[in-house]
């Protein structure tokens, strides 16, 4: 019996630019079960960050439906939306710019604690802040520190504590470890996994790092130029990647082993423009397997095996 907490259908975000209509997010659909993690993977410009923000309506989508916990988020007015915000939070990529430089650790986390209104007196709020700091692994003595006095890993922990303080059900993690050193990345990833188990959190994990997403996600969605090119459970995606882009993405990851297989699938050329894209497969200009069918129309996302979806003309179910 599935417990779907998030249902996204036909999500679109277009930006009007002097050169034309920029298709940042183009018809994204997926569903997510409570307690699971969906990894959204892609390179710069693929629209993954925009997708995450559209789901939270931090950016207003151009079209589409987002049903969160049974409620259509798109239909909420400003006041209703503000109230709903506490249920779905975000952790940002840059731990420095996502914290107010003038707020101490205490002030940043306390602001979030006050949202639910469950803790009223100063003493209660302080106790809750300390509780959260301990949960994320921040030492008590840092309570009056400013962001610029702390390193990236600690700042990110503040961001996580802030997101947890409002007791959300869903957290969109927008490249939360990309800006951190390797050993700190590992610490934060472990923390996120522990928290998910303990609090039954649902994550949308946005990243360009396939090794990281492999580690933390149950299902992965690969995006390219605003569209989903492949979606599958994590193990399945790594074991049997189908879309040429997914394959080259996987082969591009440098493996820390001497003599590791160098069957590099190098993609030629550069990403094409997301402005007014023609009605064809967006990967066609760079694909080695491009045929006439690929330039005739944009391939739809099709299920090629249970739970495994691909948008590629060369593969039909």
């Amino acid at each position: 019996m599935s417990d779907t907490i998030l249902q996204v259908t036909g999500l679109k975000k277009y930006f009007r630019t002097p050169r034309g209509l920029l298709h940042a997010v183009d018809d994204i659909s997926f569903s997510l079960e409570r307690g699971k993690t969906l990894g959204i993977v892609g390179e710069s410009g693929c629209g993954k960050s925009t997708t995450g923000r559209c789901i939270l309506r931090l950016i207003e989508p151009t079209a589409g439906s987002v049903i969160f916990d049974g409620e259509e988020v798109m239909g909420l007015n400003a006041a209703q939306l503000r109230r709903r915000r506490a249920d779905m939070q975000i952790i940002f990529q840059d731990p420095f710019s996502s914290l107010n430089p003038r707020y101490t650790v205490m002030q940043t986390i306390a602001e979030a604690v006050k949202v639910r209104g469950r803790h009223r007196t100063e003493a209660e709020i302080e106790r809750r802040v300390l509780e959260l700091m301990e949960t994320v692994g921040l030492a008590e003595r840092l309570i009056n520190s400013y962001p610029h006095e702390l390193d990236g890993g600690r700042r990110q922990r503040i961001g996580i504590a802030r997101a947890l303080a409002v007791e959300p059900k869903l957290i969109v993690c927008d490249e939360p470890v990309s800006a951190l050193d390797v050993s700190i990345q590992a610490q934060i990833l472990n923390l996120l996994r522990q928290l998910q188990k303990k609090l039954n959190l649902t994550y949308i994990f946005i990243t360009h790092d396939l090794a990281v997403v492999n580690h933390i996600s149950d299902e992965i969605m690969v995006m390219y130029l605003g569209q989903t090119v492949e979606k599958a459970p994590t193990e399945e995606l790594f074991a049997h990647p189908i879309h040429p882009y997914t394959k080259s993405l996987l082969s591009a990851i440098p493996i820390p082993r001497v003599g590791a297989s160098k069957n590099r699938i190098l993609i030629r050329g550069e990403v094409s423009s997301p402005v007014d894209p023609p009605n064809e497969c967006r990967f066609a200009t760079r694909c080695d397997f491009c045929t006439d069918r690929c330039t005739a129309a944009s391939p739809p996302l099709r299920e090629v095996s249970p739970g495994h979806f691909v948008a590629c003309c060369n593969f039909s179910s």
Binding site: E43, V182, L210, I253, I255, R257, V258, G259, R264, I267
Partner: protein, 345 residues
């Protein structure tokens, strides 16, 4: 194209291009002193690529700057040591001599391609500028050679008249590489050149750099924190922590016969593509405060094998082979081993 010769072919076999001896660089601030680089020594031969690995604050960038004598002079101070580039000590050169070698014998590419190119000059101009500075040739010849360099980095030469903003991130980085290699330097310093690039573009750039090494015989120092990249293109590795080189050796030695606990910790922190369910084992704690480094091992507080005396014992380098050196006093005990197993090649 024929003008660009392969340096390695004409080189006397055993002379190192770069020989750093006991280099110490400190930044003297108002209240404290940041000990950025502490007594490091390394050698690099012609046509070899050295991976300089470490996390933020380990001292990698300071080392690269010291090699070109570019440490900002207040507050940076070279406390001791020599940097011999082709036998000449860079730290003792006059400004004029330094200007002559920078760009010609040694050049550098930086992490952020967005800001390392001048937006108001065409890319052809920027490459040609480097050539004109160091070689005696006419403007037209310089531009001609700039076109050659663009082709070398797999950009069509017609694009020499375009401006940086017309190129993508990956291409800008390739232009930066073209500028750096324009005068065919003996040594190229690359400071995290692919960190800011997408992984597929990174693959293209790395592939290209390996190709360039083969064609031109340039030695490289590749600064990175990504062990995957090191495995892919480096011949030798030096791991830095708190300004010291705590392990160095050939790629095989450092990866397959790892000795230092910090290096082992780095390997444990990386998610293994092969085993997704494995729990990551990060190194606990944080990098030490570079203004308060201990006399002995700076890694001791985070080391799973540390003994009470480690933090006070000065760490001397122990050689496990003519090329494999490790700074870890635990090895005074000949039976000591770290958990990471040796990997058969």
């Amino acid at each position: 194209m024929s003008q660009i010769e392969n340096k390695a072919a004409n080189a006397p076999e055993n002379d190192p291009i770069l020989d750093i001896r006991d280099l110490t660089v400190h930044y003297v601030l108002e209240d404290d002193c940041v000990e950025a680089v502490n007594d490091i020594s390394l050698q690099l031969k012609k046509g070899r690529i050295l991976g300089l690995v470490g996390e933020t604050g380990a001292g990698k960038t300071s080392t690269a700057l010291a090699i070109q004598n570019l440490i900002p002079s207040p507050p940076g101070v070279i406390k001791s040591g020599q940097v011999l580039l082709n036998g000449r000590d860079v730290l003792k050169m006059s400004t004029k001599e330094l200007e002559a070698i920078r760009g010609k014998d040694v050049s550098m590419i930086f992490q952020d391609p967005m800001t390392s190119l001048n937006p108001v000059f065409t890319v052809g101009e920027q490459i040609a500028e480097s050539i004109r500075l160091h070689e005696n040739c006419s403007d037209r010849e310089a531009l001609e050679r700039a076109g050659d360099m663009l082709e070398l980095v797999r950009i069509p030469r017609e694009r020499a008249v375009e401006y940086p903003h017309q190129f993508s991130g990956g291409m800008k980085q390739r232009v930066a590489i073209a500028i750096a290699l324009a005068c065919n330097p003996h040594l190229l310093l690359a400071d995290e050149p692919t960190t800011a690039l997408d992984v597929t573009i990174q693959a293209q750039v790395l592939d290209m750099m390996l190709d360039l090494k083969r064609q031109l015989g340039t030695s490289m120092i590749f600064i990175t924190h990504d062990l995957g990249i090191v495995a892919e293109i480096c011949d030798e590795v030096a791991v830095m922590y708190a300004g010291r080189i705590i392990e160095r050796g050939t790629l095989e030695e450092v990866f397959n016969r790892t000795r230092h606990p910090y290096t082992e910790g780095l390997f444990n922190s990386i998610p293994d593509i092969g085993d997704r369910k494995a729990e990551l084992r990060p190194i606990p704690g944080l990098m030490p405060d570079p203004t308060k480094l201990p006399k002995g091992c700076a890694f001791a507080p985070r080391c799973p094998y540390s003994r009470p005396e480690c933090i006070d014992t000065p760490q001397t380098e122990r050689m496990f082979s003519p090329t494999h050196g490790v700074r870890c006093s635990a090895y005074a005990d000949p039976a000591f081993r770290i958990a990471r197993k040796e990997i058969e090649a």
